[in-house]
């Protein structure tokens, strides 16, 4: 039961950092949604604010770590060109997908979308983190600010979700070994 260096990084990228961001999203949205003075006490609101500040900041950092490891560590292995004459393409996922009939779209549509759209997630998540950290308790009374943060959170999640889902399918179609 061993993982190669490539498998380890691919796992860290997708199943640790990426999954952590996607899983934490539900908590973040729930935290923002329930930040209402009519629902909880002042002590409760302040406890939630502390958790929310920590949560969204961590999520933004994790989103950056996910795209940086994905682009600069895992992606070069994915797109590496096989030496001429190579017949076994299993170690060259991009070439494997393009050369296997019926699998081209996993690269031409799936990977092409994933590798770009993923970068929108940390950019937007950072804006949300800034809003939550800078405005803090004002989010409790300022509905527009809170709803704006939530809407942007959903945008970041959508970008990460598209990338994550496509990444999972592509890994299934052509595992990085």
């Amino acid at each position: 039961m061993e993982l190669s260096n490539r498998e380890t990084w691919a796992t860290l990228h997708g199943m640790v950092f990426g999954a952590l961001f996607l899983l934490a999203f539900a908590g973040g949205v729930a935290g923002l949604w329930s930040l209402r003075p009519e629902w909880v006490t002042v002590n409760g609101l302040q406890e939630r604010m502390t958790r929310l500040r920590l949560g969204v900041t961590t999520m933004a950092i994790v989103a950056w770590v996910t795209v940086i490891t994905g682009t600069w560590i895992v992606y070069p292995w994915y797109r590496a060109k096989p030496p001429s004459g190579t017949t076994d393409l299993t170690e060259y996922p991009r070439s494997f997908l393009l050369e296997t009939p019926g699998k081209e779209d996993w690269h031409e549509f799936g990977m092409e979308w994933k590798e770009h759209v993923a970068w929108i997630a940390p950019i937007v998540a950072t804006a949300v983190a800034f809003v939550v950290v800078y405005y803090g308790n004002q989010l409790i009374v300022d509905k527009r600010l809170r709803y704006t943060a939530m809407a942007l959170f959903v945008v970041a999640f959508a970008a990460a979700g598209i990338a994550g889902l496509l990444g999972a399918f592509i890994t299934k179609a052509a595992p990085l070994q």
Partner: protein, 132 residues
């Protein structure tokens, strides 16, 4: 103030928890800093979308964006998008720091920028501009 009464089964005991009214002081800040952050995020997304499409349309742009051979043009697209995002934020933040601007205006601008970013990074769109 709120009171919660807890009745245990059997009716043997009734506890009473009473919350006292508490105050929370909030200093309201102008929305400028938030607008600067979210509009800058939209600009970053749009730059990514534009570079993704230009990369497809021009081999010169493709070569220019290939900052790292192993990563390919994705290295330049993402690097310049992040730089553009940070520069936009650095420019907008001091301009808007003590100001409030219309929510609708700010959100519409951000929405359009983000839509541009998503569309520009969508393969079916940028492939329309593919050079031969």
């Amino acid at each position: 103030m709120a009171t919660i009464r807890v009745s245990r089964e059997g009716g043997q005991m009734i506890d009473e928890i009473e919350w006292k009214a508490e105050e929370l002081d909030i200093v309201e800040r102008p929305n400028g800093p938030a607008m600067a952050a979210i509009i800058a995020a939209g600009i970053g997304a749009l730059i990514l979308g534009i570079l993704t499409t230009l990369n497809e349309a021009s081999t010169d742009v493709h070569d220019f964006l290939e900052i790292d051979k192993d990563v390919g043009p994705l290295s330049g697209k993402t690097l310049f998008a992040v730089i553009g995002y940070l520069v936009a934020w650095a420019v907008l933040a001091p301009l808007l720091w003590r100001r409030s601007i219309s929510w609708n205006t700010g959100l519409i601008i951000t929405g359009l920028l983000l839509v541009g970013g998503f569309v520009g990074t969508f393969p079916k769109f940028f492939e329309l501009f593919a050079s031969e």
